[in-house]
């Protein structure tokens, strides 16, 4: 399949990153608008690529790791625009551009062939379950990015206004990611019951999704009942995202799973 739209999206992310860097290095805030425009163009290019792939394949582009990773990167940029109003300072655009660029770089290493769907994936639940999980990962990635900025730019300055605003953003992105992760796991359980005759089989992918959910459950309760804030919560967000990455990548490559077709 033609990957021109995806290559253009990659170029737009790179252009966005360069524009943000130039705005910072040459103290030209006007260049930031160029970065925003390039980021929006990248999102549109990715949307076009996903739409074309959906049309070519005849199914939602969520059937293998290449497709789901492109969708996740698209989700991160989309959510970045949705949460723009909540994000303090100027970090969200550059961080999103850099992260999405890295994800598209990883996509280049994956098999992008359109393969016909195996019987287990021939279901409308594919779109529901995988898209919600990918959006959850996208929201948790934004929570991770806010935490990474917090831990690098505002380390040791817990009372700095920007640090507190980043903490608030982290909480909201994590809350959204947790909600979507819960819904995604529930949708997956319903689908598993339709396809495999059991809503829970302790398959490694299911189990690591549950582990990730338990980790974020701890984070949300630590914030609520023990008032964990600032750097401690940022570190927990980084830890939680490590579990997300292991569930998404690690399980596919290191463990034998009923979800092996996702690899």
């Amino acid at each position: 399949m033609n990957t021109t739209a995806l290559n253009l999206a990659f170029a737009c992310y790179l252009a966005a990153l360069l524009a943000y860097a130039a705005a910072f290095l040459f103290a030209r805030p006007a260049l930031r608008k160029g970065g925003h425009a390039a980021l929006a163009a990248a999102w549109l290019m990715q949307a076009a690529f996903l739409a074309l792939r959906w049309h070519s394949a005849g199914h939602a582009p969520l059937a293998n790791q290449f497709e789901s990773l492109v969708s996740m990167s698209w989700g991160i940029t989309g959510l970045c625009f949705c949460l723009w109003r909540l994000a303090p300072g100027t970090w969200l655009g550059p961080a999103t551009a850099a992260f999405s660029l890295a994800l598209l770089g990883v996509c280049a290493l994956l098999d992008s062939t359109i393969a016909p769907l195996v019987p287990a994936l021939q279901s409308n639940w594919l779109l529901l379950h995988v898209s919600v999980i990918m959006l959850a990962y996208a929201a948790l990635a934004l929570s991770f990015l806010a935490s990474a900025v917090h831990l690098t730019a505002y380390r040791g300055r817990p009372d700095h206004e920007a640090a507190m605003a980043l903490d608030r953003f982290n909480t909201r992105a994590m809350g959204l990611g947790y909600l979507l992760l819960t819904a995604g796991i529930a949708l997956g359980a319903v689908w598993a019951n339709e396809a495999w005759g059991s809503y829970w089989s302790w398959d490694p992918k299911e189990t690591w999704s549950l582990i990730t959910w338990l980790v974020y459950t701890s984070a949300i309760h630590l914030r609520r009942t023990h008032h964990w804030r600032g750097q401690r919560m940022a570190w927990f967000s980084v830890l939680g995202f490590a579990f997300v990455l292991f569930t998404y990548f690690g399980v596919n490559y290191l463990m034998s799973s009923l979800h092996s077709y996702a690899g």
């Binding site: 393969a115 016909p116 195996v118 019987p119 287990a120 021939q122 279901s123 639940w125 903490d167 608030r168 909480t171 909201r172 809350g175 959204l176 947790y178 909600l179 819960t182 819904a183 529930a186 359980a189 319903v190 019951n193 339709e194 396809a195 495999w196 005759g197 059991s198 809503y199 829970w200 302790w202 490694p204 189990t207 690591w208 549950l210 582990i211 338990l214 980790v215 459950t217 701890s218 309760h221 630590l222 009942t225 023990h226 008032h227 399980v251 463990m255």
Partner: protein, 352 residues
């Protein structure tokens, strides 16, 4: 720092206080994470001999600690039970707070529903398989606990649909020039080997080869005995060959200039489905098709298309399940998602 804002209304004993504490919650969540991860690292449900072969002297310890069946072990079940108890007591102890935050109450109750549904599934659920060949009828499900169904299931037919019929891979070895080369061929087309020195035409493909009264024929479209009739042309002339995927070397001529080995790479599976009749009191109640993602529900039981045998096109493995926990778990999932959505929307409106 205020570690925990408990309501004064809850009259609990010291033991119950501990059971309702968030600190216990973190210990339980941490322990569950460790046990869950362990169950994905150590292969589960294998035989004693398998563990002995794989882990040697450590196998005994793993078996004693039930780390070979973590998710059904006593400690794991106890942890889930303790989590449910902790959640219930914590919710009850903070009842004043819960009245102010119905979203949190809903979320906690939903998790209790999911845990209850899971317990119901474990205690009252039944799962088994119906290994059937076409024409066979059974009302017994095989599994860890064999059980009888209130109806009999007859496999009327089984279909395996493929996206393509497979690929034909030939390895040609030259007896005279000592070279061998592998390439894929297509029936009716010419394929060049050894830089074009040899041209191979796959004249005919017989998926299920048999010798009939009129010569070579195919019994069915299933690849039970794949065979290719080939024409090999080189500078010395034409040689005709038969190549059998399941019987390499069969029908080969020792005087031939070439040895041909044939491998059929099976086609990709599109879908597999069973046509079944459900029989009650000697009468056929219904006749339906079951496919992957299209189960059949009948009188509290669900029949799923689970598997097939590539060697036997008449065999189908149908899974049967009766699980009263499913509606409870689904209700829990629904309420949990609703509760968390409510919490998220409230959080957007108020400062954190």
């Amino acid at each position: 720092m205020t570690p925990y804002n408990k309501d004064s209304g809850g009259a609990l004993t010291a033991g119950a206080e501990l059971l309702a504490s968030p600190r216990l919650l973190y210990w339980l969540l941490g322990s569950l994470v460790i046990l869950c991860a362990t169950g994905t690292i150590i292969p589960q449900g294998e035989s004693v001999a398998w563990y002995t072969g794989r882990f040697g002297a450590w196998a005994g310890l793993l078996l004693r600690l039930r780390l070979t069946d973590v998710y059904h072990s006593g400690p794991f079940t106890a942890l889930l039970g303790a989590l449910g108890l902790n959640l219930a007591l914590c919710t009850w102890r903070r009842q004043v707070h819960m009245r102010l935050r119905p979203d949190v109450l809903l979320t906690h109750l939903a998790i209790l529903a999911v845990l209850s549904g899971g317990m119901l599934s474990a205690l009252r659920g039944r799962r088994g398989s119906l290994p059937l060949t076409v024409g066979q009828t059974t009302d017994w499900a095989e599994g860890t606990r064999r059980f009888r169904l209130p109806f009999a299931v007859k496999l009327e037919d089984f279909h395996l649909d493929l996206y393509d019929s497979g690929r034909h891979r030939l390895t040609v070895t030259s007896r005279q020039e000592s070279w061998n080369e592998t390439a894929e061929v297509r029936p009716g087309q010419t394929t060049a080997f050894h830089g074009g020195a040899l041209k191979v035409v796959a004249l005919d493909y017989y998926p299920d080869f048999a010798l009939g009264s009129k010569g070579p024929a195919t019994r069915s479209s299933e690849p039970n005995n794949p065979a290719l009739r080939l024409a090999l042309t080189d500078a010395q002339g034409i040689e005709k060959h038969w190549a059998f995927a399941r019987f390499p070397g069969f029908h080969s001529d020792p005087k031939s200039r070439y040895i041909v080995a044939y491998e059929l790479i099976p086609g990709r599976i599109k879908q597999f489905r069973s046509e079944v009749s459900l029989i009650e009191g000697g009468w056929v109640s219904t006749r339906r098709s079951i496919a992957v993602n299209k189960p059949l529900r009948w009188k509290g039981f669900t029949l799923y298309q689970a598997g097939y045998d590539p060697e036997n096109p008449n065999y189908s493995n149908v899974l049967v399940s009766h699980d009263p926990g499913v509606p409870v778990v689904y209700a829990g999932f629904l309420l949990l998602t609703a509760g968390l959505a409510w919490t998220f929307l409230l959080a957007l409106r108020r400062p954190t």
